[in-house]
C-alpha cells in the first residue's frame, strides 16, 4: 500500500512529463463560452481567463470560442470543445446529453458582495399598484430576454407555471427583447410593458452605473434568502459552471479546476470576467428539476408527453381510460376472487370426488358382500326348500299312518319305521327297547346285518336324550352312518329309534336339521303310539295310585283323629287316677272323693275302649281289596247284621231293589261299611215304629243307593258339614262315620250327599257300574 502510494504520484508525473514532451509544440484547448450579450463582449470578458489558464498550465493553449445556445450544442455534439462555460440550463442539458461534468462554479459579484447563486427578478415600475405579486402579471404584458434565456425568462416561466399562469395563454403580451437586459428595464420604465424579467443583480448594477434611480423599479413577490442575494422573484439556482466534456482528459480537467479555484478575486482575469473567482462545483439538481418541469433542455421530449399535459389535453380520454382501468382492476380483482373461489371449489370438488370414489368403492365392496351372502342364502334356501318339500311329503305319510285306525299298534310302528328308512334312503331302521343294561331289538325294517353293531354302539353312548349322529368314519356300524333318536314314553326314554345308512348315497350324513327334526318327530310319534297302547292299563294304574293316596290321606287323618279321641279320655283317666294316688299318698281318707275320681277314671277308660272298638272297624275299612261283587249280596249282609238291633229299636228296614244282579267293582267290605254306617245312623235317628227304606236304582252308568229315615232330619246349619270328620249330634258319637263313608265312596269314583225328606233325612250315594261285557273282561 505504502509503495503504491509513493509510486503513484511518480507515475503520474512521468505520464505528465511524457505528455508534455510529446506535445512540446503546444496543445490547443478550446473553451466554448455562451455569449448572451454578443460575441465581442464575451471574448473580451473571457480571453483573460484563457490566458490565465494557458499561462498556468504549460504546454496548453486555451482558446475562447463563443457561441449562442444552438451553435454551442452543435460544437459540443461534434466534440470540438474541451471545456464549456455556459448557463446552468444548457450545462444540465449537456450533462444529460453529452456527459458534461462541472468542475467549478462561478462566483459573481454584486454590490461588492460575493455569491455563487442567482435567480430572476420580475420588475415593474414602482408606482404600479396593481403589480405586487408574481401572480399579478396575469393578463399583463410581460417582457423577457428570449425564450431560451435561463435567467432572463425560463426561471420566471417556472414560477408562473407553478402559479397556474401559462405565459403563452394567460398574459396579454409577451415580448422578447434580447440582450442587453437594460432594455427591459427601460421598456418597463417607459411603460411599453407592464413588467419585465431580468437576472438578479441587473437592477442593482444599473443603479450602480447610474442608469436607474433607486425606487423607480420594484421587484414582484420579492424573496429574501439566507444567502445574501439581491431581491429576486424566483428560487435561486447555482451560477454558471465551468465544465469538462466526456472526452476531456481528466488530468487536464484537474489542472484547470485547480487553477480556476486558485484564481484570486483581484486577478486580472477575474476582473475582466467581472467575477469574484471560482468555487467548488455546486449541486445542479435544482436546475434539473426546473428543466424537467418546463420540459425543456434535456427534458424537451419528456415535456411533450408530460402526464399533466396529456391529462389536460385528453382529460376525457384519460378519464375513460381510467374508468376502463378501474373497471379492469375491479374486474381483475373480481376475476382473481372468482378464480380463487374457483380453485377452492375445484379443490373441494376434487375432495368430494375422492370421497365419492371411496364411498362407491366401499359400497361396491359391501354390495359384493351382500351379493355373496345373498347367493349363499339362495343356495341354502333352495336346499331348505327341497328339504321342506321332502319333509312335507314325509310328514303327510307319517300323519296318514298315525290316524289310520285300520292298522293296529304293531303295524303302525312297523310302517312308521319303514317310512323313515325309505324316505331317507337308509339301509336299516331299528327300534330298540331300553333295558337296564342292554338294548333289545323290537322292530327291524331293512337290512338285518347291523342289529348287533347298532346295539353295541348305542350301549357305548352316555345318554340318548336328543338326536345322536355317529358318522361312518367312527367305524361302528360296518362303515355306515348311524342316527339315533330317543323314544319317550311317559317322560322316560324307553326306546331308541335308529337308522343306519350307506356312505355312497351321501344323503344320510348330509341330512339337514329339518330332516333330523322330522325323524325326531317320528320318534316322538312312536312314543305316543306306545303311550296310547298302554293307555288303558296306565289309566287304571293311575287310578289305583290315586286311590291309595286318597286312602292314605284318609287313614292319616283318621289316625290323627283317633289319637285325639283316645288321648282325651285317657288323659282324663290319668288325671283322676294320678290325682287319686296322690291324695291317698297324702293320707287322705275321704273315700267319697276318691270314689268320684275312680269312677270318672273308669268312665274315661271306657270311652277309650269305645274308640278302640270303632278303630277296628275303621282299620278294617282301610284294607283295599277290590273285586267284583254283587251289590245286593252286600245289602243282604248288612240287613242281617242289623236285624236284631232294628227289631230292638222297633224300626222296620225295607229294601227296594230294581236290579238284583247288578255287579260292582270295588271293596265289598268298604261298601258294606258305608251301608252299615248309613243304616245305623238311620236306626238311631228314627223313632220306634218308624221305617227305614233302602232304595237301589240302576242306570247304564251307575248304581244309586238311598237310605231314608224318619228322624228329625238335618238342620240347615249342619248342611254338608255332616260329612266332616268328628261332626256328630250324638252324645257318644265320634263323628267319624260319615266322614269315612264319604272317603270310601269317593275312592270308588262315586259321590255321596244328604237331603231332608218329608219324613226325615235321606243319605244317597252313587257308584259307577260296568256292563256285563266289561265285567267279563
Amino acid at each position: 500500500m505504502m509503495s503504491l502510494c509513493t509510486i503513484f504520484p511518480g507515475c503520474l508525473l512521468l505520464i505528465a512529463l511524457s505528455f508534455s514532451t510529446h506535445a512540446a509544440e503546444i496543445t490547443k484547448v478550446s473553451i466554448g463560452v455562451l455569449a448572451f450579450r454578443g460575441e465581442a463582449v464575451a471574448i473580451k470578458r473571457w480571453s483573460a481567463t484563457a490566458e490565465y489558464l494557458s499561462h498556468r498550465i504549460p504546454g496548453y493553449e486555451f482558446e475562447i470560442h463563443v457561441f449562442d445556445l444552438e451553435s454551442m450544442e452543435d460544437a459540443v455534439a461534434e466534440r470540438e470543445l474541451d471545456f464549456i462555460l455556459t448557463n446552468p440550463g444548457q450545462y444540465v442539458t449537456f450533462e444529460v446529453k453529452y456527459g458534461a461534468s462541472r468542475m467549478v462554479t462561478m462566483q459573481t459579484i454584486c454590490g461588492g458582495e460575493n455569491y455563487s447563486r442567482f435567480g430572476s427578478a420580475v420588475v415593474a415600475r414602482a408606482d404600479r399598484k396593481d403589480l405586487q405579486k408574481l401572480a399579478d402579471v396575469k393578463n399583463k404584458h410581460l417582457m423577457a430576454v428570449s425564450p431560451t434565456s435561463f435567467g432572463g425568462y425560463q426561471l420566471v416561466w417556472r414560477e408562473l407555471k407553478e402559479l397556474g399562469i401559462s405565459p403563452k395563454d394567460d398574459l396579454s403580451g409577451l415580448t422578447f427583447s434580447g440582450f442587453p437586459q437594460d432594455n427591459i428595464i427601460t421598456s418597463v420604465l417607459k411603460g411599453d410593458v407592464d413588467a419585465g424579467i431580468v437576472r438578479t443583480s441587473v437592477v442593482e448594477r444599473m443603479i450602480a452605473e447610474g442608469k436607474l434611480l433607486p425606487g423607480q423599479i420594484k421587484v414582484l413577490s420579492p424573496r429574501k434568502s439566507n444567502i445574501i442575494v439581491p431581491e429576486h422573484s424566483t428560487r435561486l439556482y447555482p451560477e454558471w459552471p465551468f465544465a469538462k466534456l466526456k472526452h476531456t482528459p481528466i488530468f487536464l480537467a484537474k489542472q484547470v479546476a485547480k487553477n480556476l479555484l486558485a484564481m484570486a478575486e483581484n486577478d486580472p482575469a477575474a476582473k475582466k470576467a467581472r467575477i469574484l473567482g471560482w468555487t467548488i462545483p455546486l449541486d445542479y439538481t435544482s436546475v434539473h428539476k426546473m428543466l424537467r418541469e418546463l420540459r425543456i433542455g434535456p427534458y424537451v421530449n419528456l415535456g411533450k408527453v408530460s402526464i399533466q399535459d396529456v391529462f389536460r389535453e385528453h382529460a376525457l380520454t384519460i378519464f375513460a381510460v381510467m374508468l376502463a382501468l378501474l373497471f379492469l382492476t375491479v374486474s381483475v380483482i373480481a376475476t382473481k376472487n372468482a378464480n380463487r373461489r374457483l380453485i377452492f371449489t375445484r379443490k373441494k370438488l376434487e375432495d368430494h370426488r375422492q370421497q365419492l370414489k371411496q364411498e362407491v368403492a366401499s359400497q361396491t365392496e359391501e354390495l359384493q358382500q351382500v351379493n355373496k351372502s345373498l347367493r349363499k342364502d339362495i343356495i341354502q334356501r333352495e336346499k331348505a326348500e327341497n328339504t321342506v318339500r321332502r319333509s312335507r311329503k314325509a310328514i303327510q305319510l307319517l300323519y296318514e299312518i298315525a290316524v289310520d285306525y285300520d292298522r293296529d299298534h304293531e303295524e303302525k310302528l312297523n310302517d312308521l319305521i319303514a317310512l323313515g328308512r325309505r324316505h331317507y334312503n337308509m339301509e336299516a331302521g331299528l327300534l330298540y327297547e331300553v333295558g337296564h343294561d342292554e338294548f333289545s331289538l323290537c322292530i327291524l325294517d331293512g337290512d338285518s346285518r347291523y342289529t348287533k353293531n347298532v346295539a353295541r354302539c348305542l350301549k357305548g353312548l352316555p345318554t340318548i336324550d336328543d338326536t345322536v349322529e355317529i358318522l361312518p368314519e367312527h367305524g361302528h356300524c360296518n362303515g355306515r352312518g348311524l342316527l339315533a333318536f330317543p323314544v319317550v314314553v311317559y317322560g322316560r326314554v324307553c326306546c331308541v329309534l335308529a337308522f343306519v345308512g350307506e356312505i355312497d348315497g351321501g344323503s344320510h350324513s348330509e341330512l339337514d336339521k329339518v330332516d333330523k327334526d322330522f325323524l325326531l318327530l317320528m320318534a316322538s310319534r312312536i312314543g305316543s303310539e306306545m303311550e296310547y297302547k298302554d293307555a288303558t292299563t296306565e289309566k287304571e294304574l293311575h287310578k289305583a295310585r290315586l286311590t291309595s293316596i286318597a286312602r292314605l290321606n284318609t287313614m292319616g287323618q283318621m289316625a290323627s283323629e283317633l289319637a285325639h279321641e283316645l288321648n282325651q279320655p285317657l288323659t282324663a283317666a290319668q288325671n283322676y287316677i294320678g290325682g287319686g294316688l296322690r291324695l291317698m299318698r297324702q293320707g287322705v281318707t275321704d273315700t267319697d272323693e276318691l270314689l268320684v275320681g275312680m269312677e270318672k277314671a273308669l268312665e274315661g277308660v271306657n270311652r277309650a275302649t269305645d274308640v278302640i272298638r270303632h278303630l277296628r272297624q275303621i282299620v278294617k275299612a282301610g284294607v283295599p281289596s277290590k273285586d267284583w261283587f254283587k251289590f245286593n249280596d252286600a245289602v243282604g249282609r248288612i240287613l242281617e247284621l242289623l236285624e236284631s238291633n232294628a227289631s230292638q229299636l222297633k224300626v222296620k228296614i225295607e229294601h227296594l231293589s230294581h236290579d238284583s244282579d247288578v255287579m260292582l267293582w270295588g271293596d265289598a267290605m268298604q261298601i258294606e261299611q258305608v251301608l252299615l254306617n248309613l243304616v245305623r245312623n238311620a236306626l238311631e235317628a228314627t223313632p220306634p215304629g218308624g221305617k227305614i227304606t233302602i232304595l237301589t236304582e240302576c242306570t247304564d252308568e251307575f248304581i244309586r243307593v238311598s237310605v231314608e229315615d224318619q228322624g228329625s232330619g238335618i238342620s240347615t246349619e249342619e248342611g254338608e258339614s255332616v260329612f266332616d270328620p268328628f261332626y256328630t249330634t250324638k252324645a257318644e258319637g265320634l263323628g267319624l262315620g260319615l266322614s269315612i263313608c264319604r272317603a270310601i265312596i269317593e275312592v270308588h269314583d262315586g259321590r255321596i250327599w244328604a237331603i231332608n225328606t218329608i219324613d226325615g233325612a235321606c243319605f244317597t250315594f252313587e257308584l259307577p257300574i260296568r256292563k256285563n261285557g266289561e265285567q267279563l273282561k
Partner: protein, 204 residues
Amino acid sequence: MSPVVYCVDDDLMVLESLQWLLQTIKLETQIFDDSVVFLDNYLPDVAACIILDVRMPEINGMDLHLRIKEVDPEVPVIIVTGHADVKMAVRAMKEGAFDFIEKPYAEQQMLERVQAAIQSRHTSGDDKYNESNLIKKFDNLTAREKQVLEQVLKDQSNKLIAFELGISKKTVEFHRGNLMTKLDVSTVAELVRLSIRAGMDPEY
C-alpha cells in the same frame, strides 16, 4: 289371694279331670269348655297360669295363645296337645308359651310344670331350667347327638335323618334315645322347649 289356674279345653271330661287333679295340690281352678267364652271373660293379671288345649273349635289353642299374649303378655301359658309335632312345638315356644306338653302326660309332670309356671309369674327365673344348667346339659351331648338333635328340630323323620347323616336308622334311634335321656326329657315337645331355651333356633 291364692293363684288361679285357668284351663281351656272343649272336652269337659278332660277339663274336669284336670281340675280334680289340680285341686289335689290345693290350686284354685277355673275351667272353660269354650275358647270364645274364655276370651270374652278374660281379665289380664288375674290368672297365675293358663292351660290350653290345642284342639278346640272356633279358636284353637295356638291362636288363643296369641290372643291372650296380646292382652296379657306376661302370663305363663302351658299348651297341651294330643297330637304334637315338632313344628307345632317350635311355633308355640317361639310365640312365648311357657311349656308345651303332649297328651297323655304323667300327672306328676303336669303338676310340676303348673307350679313352675306360677312360680315364674312372681320370679322371672325357672330353677329347674336355668340357663347355666341347660347349657351344661347340651355340652354333654356328643357331636353325633348334636347332629341328630339339629335334624330332629327340623322335624325330620328318623329315616330321613339316617339318610342325611349317612348312618343307619337304628343308630339314629339310639342317638335320639341317648340325647333325650341326657337332656332329661321324655317328649319331643319338651326337647324343642329346652332347645329353644338353650338358644337354638329351629326352623320349620
